[in-house]
Symmetry: C2
DNA sequence: CATGGTAAG
DNA sequence: CTTATCATG
C-alpha cells in the first residue's frame, strides 16, 4: 500500500500581503500543501512569518532592495539543510533562489524556489537575466551530479514552446519568449540535463496550461496567458509525479495573484 | 438694491484627481463659486483642465517636482493680470503662489491662492517655511501699498491662536503651531498690516471652525482639527464679507479631501 | 492614513 | 493594471 503523495506547490504571489488580502490564506488551508514555494514575496521577514503562521518551517531570502523579489520555502517537515543563492555571487542578495534539503523516508529530496526576473530587451536587465539563466543551468548540473531527488520550482519567466504562450507570434521579440531564452530551456530539459518539465510531461502536447495572465484588460477571462511557472524535476522524481494542477479560476475561485499556483503530487 | 455677493472659495484638494474621485465635482456644481482657489492640485496642467472643464479661466502654477504642491485660481470672469510666485525667486518653481487681478464693477480686486508647506522642526524644511512666511509678509505689505481690494486665500499651514487647534497643548512644539510661526500671523493680522482673518472675524472668539483633520483614526468624526486655511482680506474688503463657511461634513456630506473648503461671500 | 510618482512586473 | 516603496503631508 502506497502512502499519501508529497504535495509541492509553487506560486508567484506578487506581494504576499496583497495575496493574503485577496484570499490566499483560504487557498492554503484547503490545498493541504506539504512544501510551499513562493516567489515575489515582497515583504520583510517578520511580516511574512506573521502571515504564514507558526506551523511551518520557513526559509526566506529577502532581496536587498526592500519590497522587491523575495523567495521562500515553507514546509511542515523540518529541512536538514538550507542554502541561499543560485551559485553566482552577483545574485546573492537578489532574493531569487533558495534551496532546502529534506530526508523523505530515507531518500534525499532537494527543493528549490526560484524567481527569474522578467527581463527587458535592449536593457541591462536582459543581460542580467541571461547571467541568471547561465547560473541556473550550472546549478541544475550540480544537482544532477549530486544524486537524489531534486526539483526546481518557481517563476522562471520564460515560455519554452509555442504551446506555452497563447499569442506566441506577437511575442517572439519580447522578453520571456526570445529564441535565446527558449534555447536555455531546450538545454535544461534535454536528456543529458536529466530534468523534466513535470506539468508539460503530465499534460502532454496541448496549449497551456498557463500560469500567468496580465492584470490588463480581459487577459485572465480570455485565458490569454503564459506558462512561465515550472516544476523541473530530476527524471526519477518526475516519473513519480502523479498529478500537476494549475489552480486557476475554475475550481479555485479566488485569484490572489497574477500567477496561479502550480501544485504537483509526487508518489515517493 | 445690492447685487449678488462675490463668492470666493479656497480648498486644499490634496490631489485634484483623488478629490474628483471622491465627489468634488458635485460640491463645485452645487456651490456656485465665482472664484475658486485650489492648493495641492498635484496633477499636470492638461489633467487639471480636463477635470475643471472649459467654462472657467484657469491660472495654474505647477511645481517643478511632478505630483507635488500646485496652486490655481479658476474664475468665470476673465482676470486682467496674472502673476506667479510670492516674490522670492527661490520659490518660483514651487507651485505655491498665484495671483489674479480682476476688475469688479470698476474696482480692482487681487486674489491669491497660496500654499505654505507644512514644515518639520529641526529640518531644512522648517527654514524654508520661515523663508516663505517672510516672503508672504513682504507681499502682504506690497498688496496693501498697492491699494484696492486684495485677499490671500489658501492653506497657510499655521494655526494662529489656541482657538485654532483642538489639542493645542500637545502641539506647541510641532510645526504648524510653533510660537515663532504664530508670531508671523500676529504681524500679518496687525492693524499696521491692514489684513483681516475673515473667517475668525465673522465667527468671533470661538473654537474653530477647523479646516483640516488628519486622515488617521477618528480625527474627522471627533472634529479634532486645525484651522490652517484662511482668507486674509484687506480691511476694506473684509468689512464687506457677509459670510464665511467651512464646508465640512455637516451639510456637505462628501469629504473629498483632508481639508474642507472655506467659502466666503463678499458684498462688493 | 492618504496623495502621486516611481520601478518593476 | 497591480505591487511595494518613497517623500510629503
Amino acid at each position: 500500500m502506497q502512502g499519501k503523495p508529497l504535495r509541492i506547490a509553487s506560486v508567484n504571489v506578487n506581494g504576499i500581503r496583497a495575496a493574503y488580502r485577496r484570499g490566499m490564506e483560504q487557498w492554503l488551508e484547503q490545498r493541504d500543501v506539504d512544501i510551499l514555494c513562493l516567489q515575489e514575496v515582497r515583504a520583510p521577514d517578520d511580516v511574512v512569518r506573521s502571515l504564514l503562521g507558526q506551523d511551518r518551517h520557513i526559509h526566506h531570502a529577502e532581496a536587498e532592495a526592500r519590497g522587491r523579489a523575495g523567495v521562500l520555502i515553507a514546509s511542515r517537515q523540518e529541512p536538514t539543510t538550507l542554502r541561499t543563492g543560485v551559485g553566482d555571487s552577483y545574485f546573492d542578495t537578489a532574493g531569487r533562489w533558495v534551496e532546502a534539503d529534506f530526508d523523505h523516508h530515507g531518500t534525499s529530496l532537494t527543493v528549490v524556489s526560484a524567481y527569474v526576473h522578467s527581463g527587458e530587451v535592449g536593457t541591462p536587465k536582459q543581460d542580467d537575466k541571461y547571467r541568471f539563466l547561465d547560473a541556473l543551468g550550472a546549478r541544475l548540473a550540480q544537482l544532477r551530479e549530486r544524486g537524489g531527488y531534486a526539483v526546481v520550482t518557481g517563476d522562471l519567466n520564460v515560455g519554452h514552446t509555442t504551446r506555452d504562450i497563447r499569442n506566441w507570434k506577437s511575442n517572439v521579440k519580447k522578453a520571456g519568449f526570445l529564441p535565446e531564452e527558449r534555447a536555455y530551456f531546450d538545454r535544461y530539459l534535454s536528456d543529458e540535463s536529466g530534468f523534466v518539465d513535470v506539468a508539460r510531461s503530465l499534460a502532454g502536447d496541448v496549449d497551456g496550461p498557463y500560469t500567468w495572465w496580465s492584470w490588463r484588460g480581459k487577459a485572465f477571462d480570455n485565458d490569454t496567458g503564459w506558462r512561465i511557472d515550472y516544476q523541473l524535476a530530476t527524471t526519477d522524481l518526475a516519473a513519480r509525479a502523479v498529478s500537476a494542477d494549475v489552480d486557476r479560476a475554475t475550481g479555485w475561485d479566488t485569484r490572489f495573484s497574477d500567477h496561479a499556483p502550480l501544485v504537483v503530487d509526487y508518489q515517493i
